[in-house]
Amino acid sequence: MRIKSQKDFFSGLMFAAVGGAFAAVSSTYTIGTGARMGPGYFPLVLGVLLAALGVLIAVRSFSSGPEDGDPVGRFAWRPLIFIISANLAFGACLGGLPSIGLQPLGLIVGIVILTFVASLASDEFNPKETLILSIVLSVFSYGAFIKLLNLQFPVWPAFLGL
C-alpha cells in the first residue's frame, strides 16, 4: 500500500500520539462523574477524541491525497537551528544560566549575539551588514524598551557591576 498523502499520514500519527499521551496521563487523575467532574474528566475525553481523529487522519492518508503524494519535504535545518539558537542565546544573556554559573550578560550583548546567530540562518549572511544591523537594533531597543517603556531588563553584563 502506498501513502497518498505523507503530510496527512505524519500529522495523523502526531495527533494520535499526543492525544494518547494526554489520555493516558489524565486517566491517572480523578475522573469523577458528569455531575462532579474530576480533573481528569474533560482532558480524558479530549485526549481520546484527538487520538481517534489522528488514527482516522492517518488511515485516510492511504486512500486520498494529491497526485504528487503530498510529501512533507526536507526540513530546513539551517534556519530552524539558527533561529531557535538565537532565541536561546538571547534568553541565556538576559537571565543568565545559574546551573553553570553564567551571570546575565545583559540586553546589549544579547542583541548582538542574537542578530549574528539569527543572520546565519539566511543564505545571504554578510558580517559587516549584520554588525551595523546589531548596532541599530541595540540603540533602538535601548531607547524604546529601556527608556520609553521602562522594561526591567539587565542592560549591561553583570560582572561589570554597572
Partner: protein
C-alpha cells in the same frame, strides 16, 4: 437616543490627546506590519502585549485594535505592488491588484483598496455600535449550557472556515484545548500535565504559543524558501485617482463586500481572511459588464470587494468579543489576553462596568479608519520605500522583538525556552500542512469550556440533555451541526477546496 449618547461618551474618550496618539501608533504599526510580508497582526499584537502593561486599559486596547485593522489596509499595498500578500487577508487582492499594477493602474487599485476599506470600516464600526447593546442584553440570559454551546459553535465555525483539511483543523482545535488544560485545575487545585515543572503550574503562556508558532514558525518557513522567491519587484505608482468608470464599477462591489464582510465577521470563526475570500468569490459570480476586463486580469472589483470585506470583517469580529466575551478568531483571542492582563473580564458586563472603555474603543476605530486612509493613500510613497528593505535585515529584527516580548511578559528565561519549543512545533505544523490558527483559539477557549461544561452538568446533576433542552443552547448547537453538514455536503466541499486553491 441611547446610541448617540454612548457614542458621545466614546468620542469623548477617544478624542483625548493620548488616546489619539495610541490609536495613531496602532494604525501606523498595523500598516507597517501589513505592508511587510511575513509578519502578521497576530505576532505583532502578541509582541506588544507585554509592552501595554504600563498603559491604561483603554489606551492599550485602542492601540492593539488599531494594529489589527491597520494591517488590513497595509496588506493590500503589498498585494497590489509586489504580488505578495502582505497579510493573509489580502491573498485574493493579489490576483487582480497586481495585474492592475502591471497595466500601469497601481494608483487606482490602491485607491480602490483604501477607499473600499474606509467605507467598510465606517459601516463595520456603526454595526458594532448598534448591535452591541441588544446582543449584550441577550448575553445576560446565557447560562453555562449556552456558553458551552456557543463555544462549540465558535470552534466549529473556526474549523469550517479554516483552509485545508477539515479533520486536521478539528484535530488542531482539540490539541489547542488540551494544551489549555496544562496547569493547575481551578476546581481541585491539582496540577495537570505539568511534568513536575514548577513554571508550568500557571499553565502555558499564550504569548509563548502565539509567538513561537506564528512568529518563529513563519520565519523559519520563509527562510527555507530560496531567496529568489522572496525577491521584490516594485511597480511604480503614478496618479492615485480612479476614473469615473472605475468609481461606477467599484461602488457596488464595495457595498457587496462590506455587507458580506460584516456578516462573516460576526460569525464565530469568521474574520478578515474568510470575508475576503467570500467577497472575491461573490464578485466572480456576478456578470461582467462589456467594458470590463475579466477577473484575474486586473478587474478593479476584484480589489475593491475583498478589501472592503476584510476590513468590515476585522471590525465586526469585535462584536462577539465585546458582547459575549468569546473570541471569534485567533487575533480576538489575543485581545481576550490583553483584557485579562488589565483585569477586565471580557463579557457582557464590560459595557456596563467599563462604558468608557467599551465606547471609547468603538469610537477610536472610526477615528483610526480615518487616520488609515491618510496614512495609506497620500503617504503611499513611504510604504513603497519600505518594501525595498531586504528580508535579511528584517527577520533578525523580528526574532529580536519576539524574544524581548516573550521575556518581558514574566521576566523569566523559562518562557524563552518554551517559545523555542513552540517555534519548532510551528515549523512542524507548517511542514505537515496543519493550520495553527484553530489551535490558538482552542487554547484560549479550553479552560473556559471545561468550566462551563462543569457548571452546566453540575446544575443538571450530570444530565447531558441540558445542552439540548434549553432552547438557546439547542439553537446554538443546531447551528453548529448545520454548519458542519453544509461543509460536508459534496458540492460545497468541492467548492471550498477550489476557493482555497486560488492562493
Amino acid at each position: 437616543m441611547d446610541l448617540l449618547n454612548n457614542l458621545a461618551i466614546g468620542f469623548g474618550v477617544a478624542f483625548t490627546l493620548s488616546n489619539l496618539m495610541y490609536a495613531f501608533i496602532g494604525c501606523l504599526l498595523g500598516t507597517l506590519i501589513g505592508v511587510l510580508p511575513g509578519i502578521g497582526p497576530l505576532a505583532t499584537i502578541a509582541m506588544l502585549l507585554p509592552a501595554t502593561y504600563a498603559l491604561p486599559p483603554v489606551a492599550a486596547l485602542i492601540m492593539l485594535a488599531g494594529i489589527y485593522y491597520g494591517a488590513q489596509y497595509g496588506g493590500s499595498t503589498t498585494a497590489i505592488l509586489v504580488n505578495l500578500p502582505g497579510e493573509s487577508s489580502s491573498v485574493v487582492t493579489v490576483i487582480d491588484g497586481y495585474q492592475m499594477a502591471r497595466n500601469g493602474r497601481a494608483g487606482p487599485a490602491l485607491a480602490a483598496a483604501g477607499l473600499g476599506s474606509f467605507f467598510a470600516g465606517c459601516v463595520g464600526t456603526l454595526i458594532l455600535a448598534a448591535f452591541a447593546a441588544p446582543l449584550t442584553e441577550l448575553a445576560f440570559q446565557f447560562g453555562p449550557a449556552e456558553y458551552f454551546s456557543l463555544m462549540i459553535l465558535g470552534l466549529v465555525g473556526a474549523v469550517v472556515l479554516a483552509s485545508g483539511s477539515l479533520l486536521k483543523a478539528i484535530a488542531m482545535i482539540i490539541l489547542g484545548l488540551l494544551l489549555g488544560m496544562v496547569g493547575t485545575d481551578v476546581n481541585s487545585g491539582m496540577a495537570r500535565f505539568t511534568l513536575d515543572v514548577l513554571e508550568l503550574t500557571d499553565g502555558i503562556g499564550f504569548i509563548v504559543i502565539a509567538m513561537g508558532v506564528f512568529g518563529y514558525g513563519e520565519i523559519i518557513s520563509n527562510l527555507s524558501k530560496h531567496s529568489s522567491d522572496r525577491q521584490v519587484f516594485t511597480a511604480s505608482v503614478s496618479g492615485l485617482l480612479p476614473t469615473k468608470q472605475d468609481f461606477k464599477d467599484m461602488v457596488p462591489a464595495i457595498l457587496r463586500g462590506t455587507s458580506l464582510g460584516s456578516v462573516l465577521g460576526i460569525l464565530p470563526g469568521g474574520g478578515a481572511v474568510m470575508a475576503a475570500f467570500a467577497a472575491y468569490t461573490l464578485e466572480k459570480k456576478t456578470k461582467l459588464a462589456p467594458h470590463e476586463v475579466p477577473f484575474g486580469k486586473g478587474n478593479i472589483r476584484g480589489v475593491a470587494a475583498p478589501e472592503a470585506a476584510n476590513n468590515a470583517g476585522a471590525q465586526t469580529s469585535f462584536i462577539p468579543l465585546l458582547t459575549l466575551g468569546i473570541p471569534p478568531n485567533a487575533v480576538m483571542a489575543l485581545m481576550v489576553g490583553a483584557m485579562t492582563i488589565h483585569n477586565i473580564q471580557p463579557g457582557p458586563q464590560v459595557m456596563t462596568s467599563n462604558p468608557e472603555l467599551f465606547w471609547g474603543l468603538i469610537a477610536s476605530m472610526w477615528i483610526g479608519n480615518a487616520m488609515l486612509v491618510v496614512l495609506n493613500l497620500p503617504l503611499i510613497g513611504i510604504w513603497i520605500k519600505l518594501l525595498t528593505v531586504p528580508y535579511r535585515w528584517l527577520f533578525p529584527s523580528i526574532v529580536l522583538f519576539c524574544a524581548i516580548g516573550v521575556f518581558s511578559t514574566n521576566n523569566t528565561t523559562f518562557d524563552i525556552w518554551m517559545v523555542a519549543m513552540f517555534g519548532f512545533l510551528g515549523y512542524l505544523f507548517i511542514k505537515l500542512g496543519t493550520e495553527p490558527a484553530p489551535l490558538l483559539l482552542g487554547f484560549i477557549l479550553g479552560p473556559m469550556m471545561e468550566e462551563y461544561l462543569r457548571r452546566a452538568l453540575l446544575l443538571s446533576r450530570g444530565d447531558w440533555s441540558v445542552l439540548v433542552t434549553r432552547p438557546l443552547s439547542a439553537g446554538l448547537l443546531l447551528a453548529a451541526v448545520l454548519l458542519l453538514v453544509i461543509v460536508l455536503l459534496p458540492s460545497v466541499s468541492k467548492k471550498r477546496e477550489t476557493v482555497f486553491v486560488e492562493d
